[in-house]
Amino acid sequence: MIENTKENIKVLIADDEIEFSSTLQTRLNLRKFQTVMANSGEETLRAVEEEEPDVLLLDLKMPDLDGLEVLARLKEEHADIKVIILTGHGSFEVGREGMELGAFDYIMKPVDLTILIAKIEEAYASR
């Protein structure tokens, strides 16, 4: 694996909790990741079109579109994008449903950044 992988990884953080997503963005930026933010489901789909991220950190509970719906739509057109479900609202069933819809993994908030980064890199590597 190449040393400067992080700079090549573009992460889209989809979460309606701006306090959470912005802080996570700053911290990932500090670790040299490329990051994009989306605050709703629609915004997420748009950002995927425009920014073509490598990894999507997807919250399940968003005001307009449910995370699982976003996942379902992405599966049709952007099957190559790696999705990590990152949510506080999940349950085991929802997680499993997400996995069936093609999500790479399922992580429950709050999550240790080291673990999260490991997962992101793992997802990126599995492309």
């Binding site: 909790e17 306090e19 911290r27 506080g88 609202h89 069933e93 429950m108 908030k109 709050p110 240790d112």
Partner: protein
């Protein structure tokens, strides 16, 4: 419909209603039993009593009627017999007083000879007298000197003068011996004068005759005259010439004796005499037919009732105990359902709360992470170490919260079950591998009594691991250091039973009912979430099993887990 329910509600005592209607208040089984007993007894007793009473009164009136008829027959027969006797006496006297014999009888020894002839045939004749038209006794033969006595003023003389025949009442007369007289009048064809032949007869004759017709069918039989004076002896009213009664009514009638007995009277007039025949008979009440019928009836009714009481009592006891059992089962099921419901709703609430807390927790987590990141790239300042320590402490607290919320979600997650066939003993051994170190460290011995013949069960591997892990962990905590954990598995009634037993501190009795409730913990703050056993309970129920606990403070605790071999997911 509603109204009807209300009426029955008012009538029925609470003990007869369904137990749910009055909540968990226990019905009064004593009252229930009494009511049931009396209702059944009434239903049984009423027909028996009614039939017994009908039989009693019908038989009584039948006997009464029969007895009246029999007495009437007896009376008629006896009256006829006495009338025949009187007729024959009358004929004798009439024969002796042939009309043309006046002159013959008033002269010489002729009257004496007639008397002696009569006396030979009929020894009861006491004397004979011939009286002329003026009432003067012209001839007399007998033990007294009654020659020339004037009877013209006597009522009997007038009666015989007018009617040709007179039979007197019994009287004492000059001889002071009870007797009666038969007088016959005739017209002498020569003188065209009336004359009277009068014969006196001892009352004893009457008595003897009455004795011959007296049978066992009557209790007393005697003659009275038209003034109610006894003409023969009575067993009840004294000797001849005693007074019988003030009023005499002809026919058959009943009276109550001074002793309280019913006495039947049959009284019939005897033709051409001043006499009436009286027959007394004790009422049917005192007859053996009636007495034996009555005692048999009472015996049958009493036996029926005694048998009914015994049978009803045992039936009612049986029914009451069955209902009590049914109530207890129902009550137990309701309590169980309530308990499960309570645990489920607490579980739902807990997972809702956990979800909501996860997001702010994630923000705190990210913010402290960011501060930490920034501190590491910024230059040193005065209190930098203190700030870093504080951040660590915040992180630790967030970890604690995370542990709680994640476990809560695990608790809510128990709908997720993956089924496969495997051996329970293997799972127990797997779990023990995890705990080996901790047991070794605490010097806890293990006593494994796993039965090999247990069939594989169809259940959820991961969930079962968690169940055994939780309970064995609890056992280790309960022992602390130095002790034994015994694990027994066996097959009982088609189910797998696993007993996990420790010789630790035990659970106090007041704590025992709460141990399966979420957030209930006796461990120090921060050491336990109070979710372990509630999750375990939820999982076992999910797998169609059951868990029970027995504990003695200071002696230890035993959890018994029962699992079906083929678990139907609930």
């Amino acid at each position: 419909m509603n109204k009807k329910t209300n009426i029955t509600d008012k009538i029925l005592p609470s003990s007869l209603k369904i137990s749910i209607e009055h909540g968990f208040n226990r019905r009064s089984y004593g009252q229930f039993r009494m009511i049931l007993f009396f209702i059944m007894l009434t239903i049984t007793a009423v027909p028996v009593m009614t039939i017994a009473m009908l039989g009693y009164s019908n038989y009584k009136s039948l006997l009464q009627k029969d007895e009246h008829i029999q007495l009437k027959w007896q009376l008629d027969g006896s009256v006829r017999a006495i009338e025949q006797m009187v007729d024959s006496l009358k004929s004798v006297v009439q024969f002796a007083a042939r009309r043309d014999r006046y002159a013959e009888l008033t002269t010489g020894n002729n009257l004496r000879q007639l008397f002696e002839r009569l006396h030979r045939q009929y020894p009861f004749f006491a004397d004979l007298g011939v009286i002329d038209q003026q009432g003067v006794q012209q001839a007399y033969y007998g033990p007294y000197d009654l020659q020339d006595t004037d009877y013209s003023g006597e009522s009997w003389f007038k009666a015989v003068y007018d009617q040709g025949l007179h039979i007197s009442r019994v009287y004492r007369g000059y001889r002071l011996v009870p007797h009666f007289a038969i007088a016959v009048s005739n017209i002498d064809p020569e003188t065209r004068q009336k004359w009277v032949l009068r014969a006196t007869i001892d009352a004893e004759t009457l008595q003897r005759f009455v004795n011959t017709i007296k049978t066992n069918a009557s209790d007393d039989l005697f003659l009275i005259d038209d003034e109610s004076v006894l003409q023969t002896r009575s067993d009840y009213f004294g000797t001849t010439l005693s007074k019988f009664s003030e009023e005499v009514e002809m026919g058959i009638w009943e009276d109550i004796s001074p002793q309280g007995e019913t006495i039947l009277h049959g009284i019939g007039n005897i033709r051409a005499t001043p006499w009436s025949l009286v027959i007394l008979k004790k009422g049917y009440m005192n007859q053996s037919d009636w007495l034996s019928f009555r005692s048999r009836l009472f015996l049958i009714v009493f036996a029926c009732m005694a048998v009914s009481v015994v049978v009803i009592y045992s039936l009612v006891t049986l029914i009451t105990s069955l209902i009590r059992k049914a109530d207890e089962i129902q009550m137990g099921m309701m309590q169980e359902a309530e308990h499960t419901d309570k645990l489920a709703s607490i579980g739902r609430l807990a997972s809702g709360v956990a979800h909501e807390i996860n997001n702010p927790l994630a923000i705190i987590n990210q913010k402290t992470g960011l501060i930490d990141d920034l501190l590491h790239i910024s230059s040193d300042f005065d209190q930098k170490e203190t700030v870093l320590l504080s951040l660590k402490s915040i992180d630790a607290s967030v970890e604690r919260c995370k542990a709680i919320t994640h476990r809560l979600l695990g608790f809510a997650r128990r709908t997720e079950v993956l089924f496969a066939h495997f051996s329970v003993n293997e799972i127990i051994k797997e779990v023990l591998q995890f705990l080996e170190n901790s047991m070794l460290y605490n010097r806890i011995k293990l006593d494994l009594q796993l039965q090999n013949e247990i069939p594989q069960i169809f259940s959820d591997h991961i969930q079962l691991q968690q169940i055994f892990l939780n309970i064995i962990n609890n056992a280790i905590d309960a022992i602390g250091k130095d002790g034994t954990i015994t694990i027994i598995s066996n097959l009982i009634a088609g189910e797998v039973r696993i007993v996990i037993q420790d010789d630790g501190v035990g659970i106090p009795e007041e704590v025992l009912p709460h141990i399966f409730e979420p957030f209930f913990t006796t461990k120090e703050t921060g050491k336990g979430t109070g979710l372990g056993l509630s999750i375990t309970y939820g999982l076992i129920k999910k797998l169609g099993g059951d868990i029970t606990v027995r504990s003695n403070v200071g002696k230890g605790t035993a959890f018994t887990i029962t699992l079906p071999i083929n678990c139907e997911q609930k």
